[in-house]
Symmetry: none
Subunit: 221 residues, 2 copies
């Protein structure tokens, strides 16, 4: 990796400035943008694709864990390093469940910080030793799992699709266009269009992005 492009998300400007100063002191690291709340973080990331998102948990609008979840689900290429004031069990557990690539406490040393950043930037993981006990207690085999083992059932569908529609849906989700779908299913392109139209109407979406999001939400696909 050439230079690690970082986005900082923390609601305290002072904290951001501190981290920024620390990072920009290094070569090989560039803070390309900042955000002071979760929503802003999402926007900033959409525009300016960073390699790593350094994110605080406690933030207005949308907390850091939700931002991490969003990254894991929709932008897996943006690595996430959670930087928290707190080593509370829920925060750590939730961060890991959300798919964070790293977790550091704000009391971390500069060295540890840079080690963690380099690790996650290159596709690795880094969870500070300070939270290792929580990880061991909650995730590691052999020790009683305390945390929410919630594997959720596919959410009940508020709509019903016909067999053909499900078939069309799966092809649509493969990003195939109506012409190709029609060919593949040996039907008229007009028919494919109709199925697609009915599908969109049933799912109450108006474009491909919403469609795929909804499909993901209800674990179709």
């Amino acid at each position: 990796m050439d230079v690690i492009k970082v986005v900082l998300a923390d609601d305290h400007a002072l904290v951001r400035d501190g981290i920024k100063a620390l990072l920009e002191d290094q070569n090989g690291v560039e803070v390309i943008d900042e955000a002071s709340d979760g929503k802003e973080a999402l926007e900033v990331i959409a525009k300016n694709k960073p390699d790593v998102l350094i994110v605080d948990i406690r933030m207005p609008e949308m907390n850091g864990i939700e931002v991490v979840k969003e990254m894991t689900e929709k932008h897996k290429e943006v690595k996430t390093l959670v930087l928290s004031m707190h080593d509370s069990e829920e925060y750590v557990v939730q961060s890991i469940q959300a798919g964070a690539d790293g977790y550091l406490l704000k009391g971390a040393s500069k060295d540890e910080f840079l080690k963690a950043l380099n690790n996650v930037a290159s596709g690795g993981k880094y969870f500070t030793g300070d939270v290792s006990e929580i990880i061991m207690n909650n995730f590691v085999n052999g020790t009683p799992v305390v945390s929410t083992p919630k594997k959720q059932e596919p959410e009940a569908l508020p709509f019903k699709l016909t067999k053909r529609e499900k078939q069309i849906l799966s092809l649509v989700l493969e990003l195939k266009n109506n012409k190709d779908i029609a060919e593949e299913l040996q039907i008229s392109k007009r028919t494919a269009e109709v199925h697609r139209f009915n599908l969109m109407k049933k799912l109450e979406v108006s474009n491909l992005k919403e469609l795929t999001d909804k499909a993901k939400q209800y674990k179709l696909a």
Copy 2:
């Protein structure tokens, strides 16, 4: 806990002396005995019940992991802190499976060392951040990566995209339409169209599916 009684097990006298010096500099810690191999460690512990056993993995007679296993099985009250030169995956995995309470690399700072020691002495766990990736990969739910996380370099690109084009590409890959892309980037929809058009031409694709396939192939996105 009054004073932490420690036994050191390492086949290098120099290493033992160094750690001993470091520890005895602290109050609240006392090195009550030492051992230079695994068997000796077991004997020493039987006589002189310490609170914590600080143990190296590579030792003659009986390696550190076996000693840890023995402690876990027969002397659960003696906490074990593995101090290894190596962050090899097997060592870490085996130590955890053997029931170690902590794992540190010999490159650890004095602060981290003391933190780890206090943690395990008081019934906690401490695994250095340097081995957190191994823990995550091997034990934590959701990341069942077993081996070879060798990350290959993205295939050389037979085309060059401008910054803006890459930006557009990533939004296109999120399945956003030109209108939304234009809004997000604050440019005219016509401009977004142009970028998208140039993009498709450069990548030699003619629809969204081919585009995403190509992007995946070259690990863009």
